[in-house]
């Protein structure tokens, strides 16, 4: 499938979701399980991306003190937990990654 088709359909599915209840006549009905499930989407989606980024290298498990991304990621998680600041989390995480890569 061409990149453009993937973009088009990804955009259409996103648009359809945003449009859904706005154009439906009976806008008050949403299945209760769906309403409950929605709040778990961000933690599940985000962590499913984060874990492989930190724990894998070339598709294989890489848990070691030499894994700079894992160490920097853990530090960033600590910063995010204590400060709740996105920009500070990203800044500390990048600086930590560069520092650890330079040290190793």
């Amino acid at each position: 499938m061409s990149v453009w088709l993937v973009f088009l359909f990804s955009g259409l599915i996103t648009y359809a979701i945003r449009l859904s209840f706005i154009v439906l006549v009976d806008h008050k009905r949403m299945a209760p399980w769906l309403r409950r499930a929605l709040r778990f989407i961000p933690p599940a989606v985000l962590t499913a991306i984060i874990f492989p980024e930190l724990l894998l290298r070339d598709g294989a498990l890489f848990v070691s003190h030499e894994n700079a991304r894992l160490l920097a990621g853990l530090l960033a998680a600590l910063v995010a937990w204590r400060t709740r600041s996105a920009l500070l989390t990203i800044a500390v995480g990048m600086l930590a990654l560069w520092l650890i890569q330079w040290l190793l």
Binding site: G11, Y15, R18, H27, L38, A48, L61, T89
Partner: protein, 231 residues
Amino acid sequence: MLPVLVGVIPFAMIYAVLALDAGLTPGQSQAMSAIVFAGSAQIVMTQLVRLDTPGLVIILTVGIINLRHVLYSASMAPYLQPLKRGWKWLLAYLLTDEAYVVTAVYYQNSEPVYSESRAGQGGAPAGEAGNDIRYWFLFGAGFSLWLSWQLSTAAGIFLGAVLPTSWSLDFTLALTFIALVVPNLRDRASVAAALAAGLIAVLAFNLPYKLGLMIAMLAGIGLGLWVEGRE
């Protein structure tokens, strides 16, 4: 509103840098911002493109990530019900996380605003729901966010073209998501959802067609529901 507009700038720039890094052209990177117009989904898409994920899996993954927008759609629906179709379709396109949050707060803290000049139009007398003009707030918030997102994407494309790849800037993907997820792990059910999704994503990473990500997300959501149901 201004902090929100400024807040999306670094995310759009990070997206654009990651998009170029994943091999997308500047034109494709900018187009994705206009066509999909959803920050975290776009950032995940760059990762999936980088991993040569089949198109169908990318589209379905985007659908799952953006499913949370049905909540926004349902929440805005009663306010937008009297509007003409064109307005509904336009406002739905602009209904992002940020636009929804500021508009929902605005609707909750304000009384209906009626326009004198529009009184009587569309058959609705002045003072009835059909003449509530507060939808202009959603348009203003949505459109300014859209503009901020497109311009910041363009700035990120320029930046991404000059930054060396040796800087490991792809790591901003993980960092951005860490910054988004950690402050929101407030109860056992969401922690369970996050841990399950993360661990399964690692275990299932080498599944064919990169299906592991989708399976992990669904399993995490399922476990979150189960833990919440038990409590």
